[in-house]
């Protein structure tokens, strides 16, 4: 034991290096998302189990019933937020409202994915509204 034993229990240089690298990567990913994602967002797509159920514009306030009513999505002030879900964990309801490109709200139990897409691609394959 002795000195060798106590050494194991202190922070080492590589610990800080590891933490530093992870934080820098996180910061870079965050910046990338902020810079790239902000523009051109205009519609949201709703997918259930990988199948597109519909696309809706963010510019009009509306209430959308997804998957036969298991999830209720509200669009208000250019943001989409999951208002209700009948799953036990309610994780999707607690996720923050989305408005930027490629942001998403996901409800795993029902395999519902709500994702923001740019307005251009929305016009090409828009189904409703």
């Amino acid at each position: 034991m002795g000195e060798n034993h106590t050494k194991k229990f202190r922070f080492k240089k590589k610990d800080w290096l590891l933490i530093g690298i992870i934080v820098v990567v996180a910061g870079a990913a965050f910046l990338f998302h902020e810079l790239i994602g902000g523009e051109g967002a205009g519609v949201i797509s709703v997918k259930v189990d990988g199948v597109l159920e519909g696309t809706y514009t963010l510019s009009k306030d509306q209430e959308i019933s997804i998957n036969g009513g298991t999830n209720i999505l509200i669009i208000k002030d250019g943001k989409a937020d999951m208002e209700e879900a009948d799953c036990p964990d309610q994780l999707c309801v607690h996720q923050k409202a989305i408005s930027k490109n490629h942001e998403s709200i996901i409800c795993l139990p029902h395999k519902v994915v709500v994702e923001v897409e740019s307005a251009e691609s929305g016009k090409l394959d828009g189904i409703s509204n």
Partner: protein
């Protein structure tokens, strides 16, 4: 040591109790999916106190049992992916002498989140959750650091126990 099985039972029970305590803590950090990961504390300690194969077994047993008791089919798959990736990363860093318990635990916390995110991507068949990566990375560092500091203290005080 004769009492390996008994110790393994105690570690399993501890991990389960910590899983339960975790469900009692109403801290949600305002971010879905981010938890302190108290049960990982036991896994980190097991990594330093047991054979690696036993640590893996403990991790799987912990996830399956706590999944049946507190979670559901989904939570088992998520936790399993996160737990196994996390333990693998920690085992690799532990072999490298340059890392302390804190560094090992931070890697574990981050990989736990990454493992779960990968399963989430596969389940919902979308990569759009990738924007969530920065949050999960930072959260993994923070929780890993806390767990590492506590595990560090416990391992030091449990120096008479070595399985």
């Amino acid at each position: 040591m004769k009492s390996r099985v008994a110790y393994f039972g105690v570690f399993t029970a501890l991990a389960l109790i910590f899983s339960y305590v975790e469900t009692l803590i109403p801290i949600s950090f305002g971010i879905p999916g981010v938890k302190l990961g108290l049960a990982n504390l036991i896994i980190v300690i097991a990594l330093y106190k047991m054979r690696l194969s036993e640590a893996y077994l403990l991790s799987v047993v912990r996830v399956v049992l706590s999944g049946f008791i507190f979670g559901n089919y989904f939570s088992i798959i998520y936790s399993l992916a996160g737990g196994l990736l996390s333990l693998t990363a920690m085992a690799c860093l532990k072999k490298n002498d340059g890392f302390s318990v804190m560094g090992v635990s931070v890697a574990g916390g981050v990989c736990h989140n990454i493992g779960q995110l990968i399963v989430a991507m596969l389940v919902v068949e979308t990569f759009s959750v990738a924007y969530y990566v920065p949050v999960l990375l930072v959260a993994g560092v923070a929780t890993g650091l806390v767990i590492g500091l506590v595990a560090n203290g416990m391992i030091r005080r449990l120096k008479d126990i070595q399985l």
